[in-house]
Symmetry: C2
């Protein structure tokens, strides 16, 4: 059994990006600039945004966090988005989800200029991805693809089961892995809460990707000997022994499952860091598109 080491891969990606930024600065160009919009004071969102800022610092991007109160109106948020769309000094921006209940998330994603939509959540980027055209890919599925590619995992012709059909993970994951690309060319089954015979289906997978957010849902009997398992699920479980007060737990019961796998990604240190690295990749891509440099 070998580990799909997201922590190390993400470190590599950040080092590659940092080298490119140094090159840009050496040429007298400005650094890429990412803006994160944070509405309200959700604890997990605060952490996510703080991590994104730290990543930007590490690779030499400029970053800005723009905060709105939890009671900010949808109109106010839309006005802020219009400003960011128009601001030439902003290459890409994200609106950290979830948003307070009175704001319609779909209207927000619709309002973001597709050229700055570095989360890849808006319909234009989702559609381009679906059509196999250049697009900002959603961070988690793109991170999984990078994780497979950088460990040179052969996927062609293999049966991949994607557990979960969300807009931001399961569905795009199934599209990316089924297309004629590398990694890709899998026979993909998308499974979900209405799937019958789920354990047996999972046990038939050469590649199993779990994205349901149910701690330790996937047990050893659900995994084929020699399978590649990618655990996208991360749930925060209260843990008073940790300084943070919680620990991250994946969808996969790692201790049970790992011995059966050829490759498995851990939680933490698997897909999470790759998701963060994807946002940096998209931001650099947005910068290069906007400054009319060749894509890298």
């Amino acid at each position: 059994m070998q580990i799909l080491d997201g922590k190390s891969c993400a470190g590599q990606i950040r080092a590659e990006i940092a080298a490119q930024v140094r090159q840009l600065l050496a040429e007298g160009l400005r650094a890429p600039h990412l803006v994160a919009v944070l509405v309200g004071d959700d604890g997990a969102s605060e952490t996510y945004v703080a991590n994104k800022v730290r990543d930007c610092d590490e690779v030499g991007f400029n970053s800005t966090v723009t905060r709105l109160g939890a009671d900010a109106s949808e109109a106010k948020l839309l006005a802020l988005i219009a400003e960011l769309n128009a601001d030439d000094a902003v290459d890409g921006f994200i609106v950290q989800l979830p948003l307070p209940g009175h704001v319609d998330e779909h209207q927000i994603t619709l309002a973001i200029d597709p050229a700055k939509d570095v989360d890849g959540f808006g319909p234009s980027n989702v559609g381009l991805m679906c059509l196999g055209k250049p697009a900002f890919l959603p961070a988690t599925p793109n991170g999984v693809m990078e994780l497979l590619a950088r460990h040179d995992i052969e996927t062609e012709g293999r049966h991949c089961v994607v557990l979960g059909r969300s807009n931001i993970v399961g569905t795009p994951m199934s599209i990316l892995l089924s297309r004629n690309s590398r990694p890709g060319n899998c026979t993909v089954t998308i499974a979900h809460s209405r799937t019958r015979g789920l354990a047996k289906l999972c046990a038939s997978a050469d590649v199993l990707i779990t994205a349901i957010g149910k701690p330790h849902f996937v047990t050893a009997d659900m995994v084929k000997e020699g399978a590649v398992v990618v655990d996208v699920g991360t749930t925060r479980l209260a843990d008073s022994s940790r300084p943070s007060g919680f620990r991250l737990v994946g969808d996969v019961d790692f201790a049970q499952v790992a011995p059966k796998c050829s490759w498995i990604s851990p939680v933490p240190g698997g897909v999470g860091p790759m998701t963060r690295a994807s946002l940096l990749q998209n931001t650099l891509k947005a910068y290069r598109n906007r400054t009319r440099q060749d894509d890298v």
Copy 2:
């Protein structure tokens, strides 16, 4: 074995639309207007467009066919699209594919105003579909969904194999059938040229949807007893005994396969008429969106 009767369903849909158009006219409103752009003189494209015009006539839509020569430049086609986008008297338009080799089809689909993209081929509509939001659905997958719905086929929890991963049929079909809707909630496997053990996989399907364009590829051994089979493939085979000089043949060897099925769609008279009816549905929807009427 029962027939998924696309010809009859499509007739029903046209009758429903015709009744709505009569109602619009009775209220003193104008009829919906579809424009078809035909570039060059491909025989099959001529037939498809002629059929679309006939369908419009039957339901009371206005229709216009705008022709460009096979040597028309991409710039000329883009200028025509800009005119159609701006023309208030046009509710929706399609550019009949395939286009001559010197025209980039992706640039064409990008240029069409998403509000008039009644083929649903542009990234904006594809993305909205993928996100489960209101969109113009691509005609063939939408036609299959209607065909299943109008025959009251239960799909929830059933294993559906989609054979083919094209942008306009296989991939959107897999998305629509996997989502939480009715029909839908299938466990969907998307299979393609790189799939291993294809016959066995197909034989495990409760619902089999074939969209590969290989005449009689699906034989009886590839179909489970009691399966629902939807044959999207249509290939024109030369047939001198027909006035047209050809006959349409599906992906499924109907004579062999039909006796094993609970339901099966024939070719012709299955998905083809449903695809045509979908374009009418999308055009009426575009009209209602544009004229700010409630969607029906």
